[in-house]
């Protein structure tokens, strides 16, 4: 046990991130069920008060983004596999890595405490003042320090992995020979390093306003409420690419391996796609503020930049599609999830287009349409990529396969459930169903029918999730044993390590021939 708490091995730290992020996923998922059951009908039926509902909403959003998606993708996947893919024995700063995961667990503890304490935070994951700086509502300090802990963990991780990719690549692994997984993770870490400090500043100013008597966001004291929103979204928009890029990275690896093909137009995906996203990501945050009273010319200007992000994203999507072209595709559970992600990213990405347009968003903002859009990209696309990656690398981490019949049943339940939940929310969103409501009595009666379907979908998803976890835990101990490269991949983590890899990863340091790539299927 002590070995795990004090470990500096990147693989063990990765597993610690996996356990913490999946635990957060389950608890935040239960909060989602509370929300869905409460929204089943207008009026109050499951929670005792509106504040209880708002507490659940706060926890669900904050935990899913800050404790599940970002640490799951940049904490677990990057930690376990990135060093191996570049031929390194560990990250550049293993002890800093340990500090990162301890800070992560600190954030989880704080988030869980904030669920059960009296006067729990109910400021939503966005934490807008003046509500979050008022005297009465819940304990905003817990929100601020939860963000601090997760943010600090991520910043340290970013430093660690950027240095690792730059300096610890094995000889002959150049920038154009990196796995797409490595490039997308590298992009995510650059974004984290640059933008998280701004979020830290924003929430710290909330802390100061509420508890120390400053007036950053208090108009009566010369402050401005819009300042917070600009600082918050300056980070939080790039944050979605911290989620999107690694998810794409995981999918690229799975699709390339299962199609036995090289990446289609690798350079366009890397330099046009990943680098293009990094370049543009800091110039679009105002699309979260289209109805917030920003100057008109700024809203229009950032409509153009937001629409233009479709170019780098499009290049990555085309590259992913092209990797199927003239491939030799076989299927496993990971590929099932990866294929469903192809369709999920279309729906999630394309519904972002009306939201990029100021005039459309003057109606759609803060409705279920937005909610369904970002759930398609985050709850469906990114989460399914995480499932895909876990199933794909399961044999590498455990020496066993988790591809059982139960896995396929859970896949279909998950797919059915999430679609049942979110398609109805698109529809009533266009008709005006607002976000963050527990009661919608003032709306037409047929809204309830759509909520019924959405809640039923939530139940189906819950069953699918439970079966997935049961299957994975069972397979870790009793799954069918596999050889060290069951999918026939050419990537270093499969070809040059045993399953699971031992300390130092490689029995012999990998000898990379010039011109090698991790996608060397066709020579």
């Amino acid at each position: 046990m002590k070995e795990w708490i004090f470990t500096t091995d990147h693989k063990r730290i990765g597993i610690l991130y996996l356990i913490g992020s999946m635990a957060a996923f389950v608890v935040a998922g239960i909060a989602a069920l509370v929300i869905r059951f409460e929204q089943f009908n207008p009026g109050m039926q499951v929670v005792n008060s509106a504040t209880d509902y708002n507490n659940a909403l706060y926890f669900h959003g904050a935990a899913m983004i800050l404790a599940f998606l970002i640490p799951g993708l940049t904490g677990f996947f990057a930690n376990y596999f990135l060093p191996i893919m570049i031929g390194a024995r560990d990250v550049a700063f293993p002890r800093l890595n340990a500090l990162s995961v301890w800070l992560f667990y600190g954030g989880i503890v704080l988030a869980l405490v904030s669920m059960v304490m009296p006067d729990a935070p109910d400021v939503m994951w966005t934490g807008y003042p003046p509500y979050s700086t008022m005297g009465t509502p819940g304990n905003s300090a817990f929100y601020v320090f939860t963000v601090h802990l997760f943010g600090f963990s991520s910043i340290l991780g970013a430093v660690n992995f950027i240095v690792t990719v730059m300096y610890l690549r094995a000889p002959n692994i150049g920038w154009n020979q990196l796995n797409m997984f490595v490039w997308t993770m590298f992009g995510a870490f650059i974004i984290n390093l640059v933008f998280i400090p701004v979020l830290a500043a924003a929430v710290t100013m909330v802390l100061f306003d509420k508890y120390l008597g400053t007036h950053f966001f208090d108009p009566a004291g010369g402050g401005d409420v819009l300042l917070y929103q600009n600082l918050f979204w300056f980070y939080s928009h790039p944050a979605v690419y911290v989620i999107f890029l690694p998810a794409m990275g995981v999918l690229y690896e799975i699709i390339a391996t299962m199609a036995k093909n090289h990446i289609f137009n690798y350079k366009a995906a890397v330099y046009g796609g990943v680098c293009g996203i990094i370049f543009l990501t800091g110039e679009v945050w105002v699309h979260h503020l289209y109805v917030a009273g920003m100057p008109d010319w700024l809203r229009i200007g950032q409509m153009v930049t937001t629409l233009l992000i479709s170019v780098p994203v499009g290049l990555m999507v085309i590259s992913m599609w092209g990797t199927l072209y003239k491939g030799a595709i076989t299927f496993n559970v990971a590929m099932y999830y990866a294929v469903s992600c192809l369709f999920l990213v279309l729906i999630g990405g394309l519904t972002g287009i009306p939201l990029a347009m100021t005039s459309m968003t003057l109606h759609l903002s803060e409705t279920s349409f937005v909610h369904a859009h970002f759930h398609f990209v985050m709850a469906l696309f990114a989460t399914f990529s995480i499932y895909a990656g876990i199933y794909y690398w399961f044999p590498k981490m455990t020496g066993r396969s988790a591809d059982s019949k139960l896995a396929y049943i859970a896949f279909w339940l998950n797919s059915l459930g999430v679609n049942l939940t979110f398609w109805p929310l698109f529809v009533i969103g266009v008709e005006g169903m607002p976000r963050r409501y527990y009661d919608y009595e003032q709306f037409p009666a047929y809204f309830a029918d759509y909520h019924h379907i959405a809640t039923f979908g939530g139940v189906v998803t819950a069953i699918g999730t439970a079966l997935t976890i049961i299957n994975l835990v069972y397979a870790a101990f009793k799954g069918a044993k596999t050889n060290s490269n069951p999918w026939g991949s050419k990537s270093l983590e499969w070809t040059d390590t045993v399953s699971p890899p031992g300390p130092g990863n490689f029995v012999h340091d990998p000898k990379i021939a010039p011109g090698w790539t991790p996608y060397d299927y066709v020579r």
Binding site: A50, N54, M124, T126, P130, M134, P219, A220, G223, V225, A259, K260, N261, H262, F264, N265, A268, G272, V291, G293, I300, M303, V304, L307, L308, S310, V311, L315, G322, L324, Y325, K326, G327, A328, I329, T330, V339, L342, F343, L346, L350, T351, I353, P354, M357, T358, S359, M360, L362, H363, S365, E366, T367, V430, E431, P434, R436, Y437, Y521, V522
Partner: protein
Amino acid sequence: MKIRTDFQAMRKGAAVVSALAVLMAPVVASASGGAAAAGGFSSPATGWNELWHHVLVDLLVIGGIFAIAAVYMLWKYQAKNPGDVGTARPLTAAQALGFALIPSAIFMADDFFLAAKGWVLWNTQRTVPADAIEVKLTAQMYSWEFDYGNGLVVNSVEAPIMVPVGRPVVMRMTSNDVIHSFFIPEFRIKEDVMPGRKTYLWFKAPAAGEYLATCTEYCGAGHSQMPAKIQAVEPAAFDAWVASKGKQAAAPVATNG
């Protein structure tokens, strides 16, 4: 040499398409701009519904192309025997550049097309007609207060808010406490309402009836329970109601949907 010729040809082709895309944008914009100069849309709502249909078609076309391509390739390129590997040849430099520049040009052309159409509607939404009736709106936890300027003040928890049919109304808005957002779904319009700042939105009720307005910026425990009833009545009845400071009730109207 064949490769150099390909490269030059692709380069020329890519340049032409990119130039077309860049040229298309101002052409589209000016064409749409012409419409704006001619008055744009009659109200934010009609413009929104029209543009929404264009956007949906756009999304369905793009989504359809990619979805069908995915399904087709997943079916056609399945491995025939175990141990099969992909047979795709690496792209030449020309092909790589082409596959980057041409899709980029197409996406950019679509982006500018949508931006131009959206800009026309935006002008309508943000340009208040000169003859609009001004109402001052103050939001608080958890109600809306409408000030008609002559001493008539209506609170949303007490009474419906009257507006005239077919005449533009502009809300000049501020908040007493936290950020709220005034949203009238059927008029396809909202804007945040903040302390220390003034924001605005305008709309035009198309027909007599009752319309719902509601809060769409999280403001605490009462966020779901801040509706306002907007009642659109004939202009004469509206004028009389305002002049009598709300004492002369407007004629009963059929409720809307």
